[in-house]
Amino acid sequence: MNKLFDEYRVLSDRILKPQDERVPSFLKAMESSLSSQDNWTFYLPYLLSLENCMKCGTCAEVCPVYQEKKEQIYHPVQRADMLRKIYQRYFTFTGRHLPFLVGAEDLTEAKLNELAESFYRCTVCRRCAYVCPVAIDNGLLVREGRKILDAIGIAPDELKEKGTQLQLKMGNATGAATPAFKNMIEFLEEDIEDTRGYELEIPVDKEGSNFLLMHNAGDYMAFSETVMGAAEVFNAAGVDWTLNSPDTGVNDAVNYGLFFSDVEFTEVIKAQIETTKKLGADTLVIGECGHAYEAMKYLVQRLIPKEERPFEVKSILELMDEWIKQGRIKVDPSKNPDPVTYHDACKYGRLSGLYEQPRRILEASCLDFREMYPNREMSYCCGGGSGFAIMEKGDFKKFRMEYYGKVKAAQIKDNGAQVVALACSNCKGQFRDIINHFNLPVRYAGISELVANALVR
C-alpha cells in the first residue's frame, strides 16, 4: 500500500479503491448530505460548522492527536477544512464563481484519499467541540464526512462488513450463533460457582422481564469478567432480568453505524428495538459500552419516533448507582482495597453526561478511589474510540499507542492507581494494549466486576 501522508494506513487499498474515479459520486453524496430532507440527524449544526469556523485554533490546543506531535495533518481545523473547501467550491455561490476569494479548492482523487484517511485518524472524542468559543463541532464534520464516504462505498471493514452487516446477519458482531452463545453462558455460570462458591442461574430469552440486559457482544469474548460481574449484581439485586440469545434477534448492544453511517445505524437500532419489543422488557439495559448508550439513549431520538420505542433505556451504570443508593445491593469497599481510578469514556461523558454515576459507584465499592487529571468534560480520549480499538491494519495499533496511548499512560502513572476502572469495551481493548505496550504496573477492570467483587451477600 502506498503511504498517504505518514507511515500509517488505516484504510487499505481494498477499502479506499484509489484506482477508481470517486470524485463525482462523492460530490453527489455530499449534495445529499446538505439537504435537510436527506440528512435527518444533525443537519443544522453540520451546516453551521461548515460555514462558521473562525480558525482561532482553540480546538488544536486540546486535541490529543495534534498535541502529541503538532503535525499540521492532525490539526482539527485543517482536517475539517478538507470538507469545508469542498463545500465552498461546489456548494456556495461565491465558491462556484470566485473560488479564490473564499479558499475554495477543487476536489481531486488524491485529495479524496487524504480526506478519507484523515477522517479515520480522529476518534471523534469531541474535546474540540467542548472548547470551541463559537460552538463549532469539528468532530461532527468528521462524522458527516465519514457518512459521505460510506455512501460511496468507503468504510473500514471492521466497522461495516464485519461490524454492522455481520451483526444484522448473526445477531452480534462477534458472529456467535446460539449454540456458541449458550456454551458461553454455561461456562460463565460454572465459573461464577468456581470463583465465588455459589450457584447462580443466568436467565436467557425470558419473555416479559423487567430488565433486558444487552451487553456489547465483544465483552463475552474478551472481557467476560464484566458479564459475570453484571450477572452477580443483577442476581444480588433480586430483580426480574434476562439476557438474550441470537434466536431472539440482535443480542449485541453495539451500533457501529454511530461511527460512520445513519443508514447502517438505523438498520441496527431498528433490529435492537424489534428484539426488545419481542421480548417485552420494560427497560432495555445497555451493558458497559459507551457508544451503544449514546446510540440507544440519544441518537435514536433523531431517527425513531418515541411511540415506536415503548420501553425505557438505561445504562447499567445508572442502575447500579440507583441500587447502591437504595440499599438494594450492599457493597463493602474493603473488598477492593487497591487504589482505583476511573477513565471517562468520551461517549459516556462528553456525549451523554454520565460523570457522577460511575464515581459514586466506585467510591462506594472501592477503598481508595482517585481521579486522574484532567477528567470529566476534559478527559482525554484513550484512543480506542469510534471503533479504533479494533483496527490494526497499516500499523494502526502503533498509531493508537503513540498518539493517544502515551497521554493516557502518563496520566495513570501520575496518580498511582493500580486498577483502571472502565465502563466501555473500546476503552477496555485500548487500555489492554496501552498496559502491555507501556508495561504499566496496573490492571483494568469493568465497573460491574468491581461492584460484584464488593458485594455483601
Binding site: 458482531a173 456467535a176 456458541a180 461456562f187 465459573d191 465483552d219 490494526e392 473500546n426
Partner: protein, 104 residues
C-alpha cells in the same frame, strides 16, 4: 495476498489471517508463527493452537478468552508470553482461525 509452502498457495486476508481455515496444517502454523514474533512452536503453543481449532470447528467461533485460559490451564499472562500479540490476534492467526470480529 498469499504465501506458498511446498508449492501450495495459501490466501491470506489484509490482517494476515488465512482465508480458508480448512487448508491449515502444521507447516502453515509454523509460517504464520514467524509473522507473529513466535520463533518456534513449542508444546505449550500447540496445546493452545489445538484447543482453539477444536473449539472453532465445534462452535464456528473462537472461544472466550477466559474459557481458553481455564481449559488450557494457562493464565492470560502466559498466553501473552506464548503469543505476544495476544489470544485474539496472534494465537487465532497461528491456529488458522478467521480474525475475531466485534469489540474483542
Amino acid at each position: 495476498m498469499s504465501f506458498e509452502i511446498d508449492g501450495k498457495v495459501f490466501e491470506v486476508d489484509e490482517d494476515g489471517f488465512i482465508v480458508e481455515p480448512d487448508l491449515w496444517n502444521e507447516a502453515v502454523a509454523a509460517y504464520l508463527a514467524k509473522t507473529e514474533e513466535v520463533e518456534e512452536l513449542t508444546e505449550d503453543h500447540w496445546k493452545v493452537v489445538n484447543y482453539l481449532r477444536n473449539y472453532y470447528f465445534e462452535y464456528g467461533i473462537a472461544p472466550m478468552v477466559r474459557k481458553l485460559c481455564k481449559d488450557t490451564g494457562y493464565p492470560l499472562k502466559d498466553i501473552y508470553e506464548l503469543f505476544p500479540s495476544g489470544p485474539a490476534k496472534g494465537a487465532c492467526k497461528i491456529a488458522g482461525l478467521p480474525k475475531p470480529t466485534g469489540c474483542v
